[in-house]
């Protein structure tokens, strides 16, 4: 068999990117936490200070509070958006595509996909939740979620085939998959959950539970 080394073919499209690994993800998580604090603390602090100095500045103080609330919300919205359904539904071929994707998934993941439209995949970096044009990664413990924007280049595929494309790429080379994908957001899962369509929220709940279980599983028994 003339098999290649486990490197994703698409890595050639992004030669300038450093390969994504657990260390990179931890750095990203810290950077996103810092940014969130930088947005969430100074604006409300300024609002309080303004009101203390001069109550007539209330409109400006309210604008400061709004900034402190809206900016982190917009980032979380961007993160949740990677899972939103996109592109044509292709309902005639979706049934066949769903059956094929079901063959790739295990029983539990297949049921979850039918309910939520998302595919759950346990892997070395944590638990992935894959949508039509993006994926979430919950590292072991499930306290953070990384949101990645990534899609197949054929927009005419039925939704389940788009997920199958991402799933096969992920299974081929997890680090390469995360490198090719654009990192859109990192934060607490609840921030993303409230911005997800209601039908998809059980998918994130299941992924979070699976990521927590990974944390409790001894390293030598993880797949």
């Amino acid at each position: 068999m003339a098999a290649e080394a486990p490197a994703l073919a698409e890595l050639g499209q992004v030669p300038w990117r450093r390969r994504t690994d657990e260390l990179y993800l931890r750095r990203q998580a810290r950077t996103w936490s810092l940014w969130t604090v930088l947005y969430a603390v100074p604006f409300p602090s300024a609002a309080v200070l303004l009101l203390a100095l001069e109550p007539l500045t209330a409109p400006v103080a309210i604008a400061c509070l709004a900034h402190g609330w809206v900016i982190p919300e917009l980032y979380a919205y961007r993160g949740a958006s990677v899972l939103r359904p996109k592109g044509p539904r292709n309902e005639r071929s979706e049934a066949a595509a769903q059956g094929f994707l079901g063959d790739l998934l295990g029983h539990e993941a297949r049921e979850l996909h039918r309910e939520t439209g998302l595919a759950l995949e346990r892997s070395g970096m944590g638990v992935w939740l894959i949508g039509e044009a993006g994926a979430l990664l919950l590292p072991p413990g499930g306290r953070r979620v990384h949101c990645f924007c990534v899609r197949t280049t054929d927009s005419e595929l039925p939704p389940s085939d788009r997920i199958a494309h991402l799933l096969l790429a992920l299974r081929t080379d997890e680090g390469g998959f995360a490198t090719v994908a654009n990192h859109a957001f990192c934060g607490a899962p609840w921030r993303v959950r409230r911005r997800l369509p209601v039908a998809m929220r059980p998918g994130l709940d299941a992924a979070r539970a699976a990521a927590r279980a990974v944390c409790r599983t001894p390293v030598h028994t993880r797949r």
């Binding site: 068999m1 003339a2 071929s93 346990r122 990534v150 197949t152 039925p158 085939d161 081929t172 090719v180």
Partner: protein, 74 residues
């Protein structure tokens, strides 16, 4: 029976089927596989248990080889 399939707008299409003993069928599958590579598809051998392998030559003893399109950051 081994199968070569392509994920496309119809859900998926079976491009070729062969057995390890059937040389003409395997040769036809190899030609089809190479034609799909030329069209920009990527060959993947799903190994189950969360593992898959990219292949540039059609493995004779594979159960299922899947042709997929490249992915890209959105």
């Amino acid at each position: 029976m081994s199968r070569l399939i392509r994920m496309d707008a119809t859900g998926h299409s079976t491009l070729a089927e062969w057995t390890t003993e059937d040389d003409p069928a395997f040769d036809a599958a190899v030609r089809e596989f190479r034609a799909q590579l030329d069209l920009g598809y990527i060959g993947v051998l799903d190994q189950g248990k969360g593992k898959a392998e990219q292949v540039r030559e059609l493995p004779r003893d594979a159960g299922l080889v899947i042709m997929r399109r490249p992915i890209a950051g959105g």
